[in-house]
Amino acid sequence: MRHVVSATLALLLTTALAQAEATPGGTADLIVQPEPPGLMIGIVTNGPALAVGGNIYESLLRYDETLAPMPSLARSWEVSEDGLTYTFHLQEGVTFHDGTPMTAADVLFSVNDFLMKTQPRHRNTMAQVESVTAPDEATVVFKLTQPFEPFIRAFAYGTMPILPKHIYEGTDYMTNPANDKPIGTGPFRFVEWQRGSFIKLEKNDAYWDKGKPYLDEVIYHVIPDAASRAVAYETGVVDILPGGSVENFDIPRLTELPNTCITDKGWEYYAPLSWMWLNNRNPPMDNPKFRQAVMYAMDRQFALDVLWNGYGKVATGPISSKTPFYSQQEPVYEYDPDKAEALLDEIGYDGEPIRLLPIPYGETWQRWAEAVRQNLQDVGIKVEMEAADVAGWNQRTANWNYDIAFTYLYQNGDPAIGVSRNYITSQIEQGSPWNNVEGYSDPEVDRMFEEAALAYPAEARQEIYDQVQVKLQEDVPVAWLLELTFPTIYNCKVHDIVTSAHGPADSMRDAWIEQ
């Protein structure tokens, strides 16, 4: 509670100061963890690459904390009444970092060519698109095959970055030398990357949004050890610890340091939701009653309060409360060991050992797995803890070689994009740790997700998502844990680091430092 209060105070303080006049100049020092493999986010799409690359590349839109679109490279846009045509009007005077003007031709090249070859998610989105055309240099028109309401949220920098046609056209995209010296339209230009040490960006003086960015430089420090990252903040080497930079147990200590602010905003688009895959193929996980027993057996509030310092929320079902179309539905699974035991008795669970695979993302996750093991053992489920590194975890889950496995996934702004993939039959495919790994299959759920994705307008979608949440919460294909929040800790002299639903990862374009 104390932390929630201090977070609220910090937020109020931030809001008050945000109204002060932004002053240009200064350097922001942040952590990037782990070191990204590359910065060209048309090719590399992992979290750290997007966190740095978000300063260099942009897309047509940005999203506010309610996921409503905001202008970025598109200054305005219209959606036709039938929901089939999306028209974007581009900003004037936008240039790439090498001085070449950005036009509709670059948008067409990125959307129709580059990203189709490099990004699976983009290919999925474009399956709804009949054509993309440019009636003039400053207008781009997307025509859809059928109304697809989530489409408006597909124009984020991470999902549809606009890339320079003049540099990539006719080359091998994967080996183009520009991948090492990324060139975009963003508020900051790439300067230097000393692998293992830091990545340095500088202000783009020719940025289209006049007066921005305020900072002269942004430096991302690479510090492999979580305790050392905390020390980096304590000793003033870095000013901003983006979410996930330090272990959770360090957060209370760091927030007590003088002049330290904390915010849990900036995760609205990704809305990370954690759960345990219950391998529906293996008994006893094939029995919904066993899966319900797992839900009742877990003290998720304890995990939230103790392991995550109260940041986050106990999940009610498959859709995060931050994601559009969430609704509170029954059944809700409160911590009730007696009910869990009764369910296990009812199905005649014989004490057969269950393998539990934690996700190897650091100490908090390991402790969480131990807490869950304790919960499960308390109701009589015999648990054998397993271990794997990231590559091993990927392989085990992608090839379905587990009984219960921890994970968390981003919801990416819409259930049709980030939720249905984990529950529909067509997504049961070996090789990916991000699809329907648990092997749940129900024709009714398949139908509802399909209809909900294509229903139009939003009210029609809501009705179907209400039903699908009820159905899934009854069946418990996976054991939902928490809606995660990774708070950003920062020196209060830095302002406006979170101005969109993507948080600090969506560039430091608005950030400024009190001089």
Partner: protein, 323 residues
């Protein structure tokens, strides 16, 4: 001597190829592959994407084809291309080499110099308070986990006292040049080099002390004493020289590890060295990079083994090394 060195070099080349093959096969035995790790990181994947990655890395080929390609590459003195970072492996390794060598050599000099000195002093004052102090300190440094020592050093000297930078190779963004830059790097070097050096210093001190005491009980020392030679001279010329053999062996082993880096120390102090590069390559299944680091480390071990053997002959002429 030249013949001996040549024969040893040829043998080393053969061993190196065997090591390369063994490393290659060992890595294949680990679960997961680079395509899966990269697909995992992308947050979304499909069969097409996985297949594209496997084709790009040549992972869709049979194992013997992959091995043949790898051996073909290294025989041309090329370490290949890092799948994940899209950069030649040799570039990545050489980029990290200066930082690694600076850290390892500093730690090497600190540990060998101070350790041997402490060992000699302890043996000369055997049973007295100096011996107890040195032995106790050596035992403490020997038994304390390196990472804990490192974290405590950071907390004391960086966080509490603010004397030394906590991590990194130099002050990022300061853009120092010339002498100022060297001072900056030296300040950053103190904590990691001392922490790494202290462990080995303890090892050298204990080993030198034990070896000195053992040698000083031998008959030729008694003869020297009977001849009336000064104790200091006996210690230096007769005892120390003979007692140095195990120390040289250990120094050779430590020197072989110079390029391999020190994963723990590099992690805690965010030192951009090869140890960390290797660790990251392992977790990310960046096969070529991992194999490259292994191969360079193995070559260094072989080289320093050879140097150790040559030093044996210089330190102790009684040893006749045969090729």
């Amino acid at each position: 001597m030249a013949k001996f060195i040549l024969a040893r070099l040829m043998k080393a080349a053969l061993i190196l190829v065997c090591i390369a093959i063994l490393n290659f096969l060992l890595i294949q035995a680990a679960p997961g592959d680079p395509a899966q790790v990269m697909a995992g990181e992308a947050g979304e994947t499909d069969a097409v994407f996985l297949q594209q990655l496997r084709e790009r890395f040549g992972l869709d080929q049979p194992l013997y084809v992959q091995l043949g390609r790898y051996l073909g590459t290294i025989l041309q003195f090329d370490l290949g291309y890092s799948y994940r970072q899209q950069v030649p492996v040799a570039d990545l390794i050489f980029e990290r080499l200066p930082a690694t060598l600076l850290l390892s050599l500093s730690a090497f000099v600190i540990s060998l110099g101070l350790g041997t000195l402490a060992g000699v002093l302890a043996s000369a004052r055997q049973g007295r308070w100096q011996d107890s102090v040195i032995s106790t300190i050596a035992l403490i440094f020997y038994a304390t986990p390196l990472f804990w020592l490192a974290l405590m050093a950071v907390l004391l000297f960086s966080v509490q006292l603010g004397w030394l930078p906590a991590f990194g190779y130099e002050t990022v963004g300061a853009d120092h040049t010339g002498l100022r830059r060297m001072e900056d790097i030296a300040a950053h070097l103190v904590l990691p080099a001392m922490t790494l050096g202290l462990f080995f210093m303890a090892v050298y001190a204990r080993m030198t002390r034990a070896s000195m005491l053992e040698v000083s009980r031998l008959d030729f020392v008694k003869t020297a004493q009977a001849k009336g030679l000064r104790p200091a001279l006996i210690q230096r010329r007769h005892v120390l020289r003979n007692a140095l053999l195990p120390v040289v062996t250990l120094a050779g082993l430590q020197a072989g590890q110079l390029v391999g880096g020190a994963v723990l120390i590099e992690t805690v102090f965010a030192w951009p060295g090869i140890g960390r590069l290797m660790f990251d390559a392992l977790t990310q299944r960046d096969y070529n990079l991992l194999l490259g680091v292994f191969l360079v480390s193995a070559a260094m071990v072989l080289l320093f083994n050879l140097i150790t053997d040559i030093l044996y002959r210089l330190v102790d002429p009684r040893i006749r090394v045969t090729a």
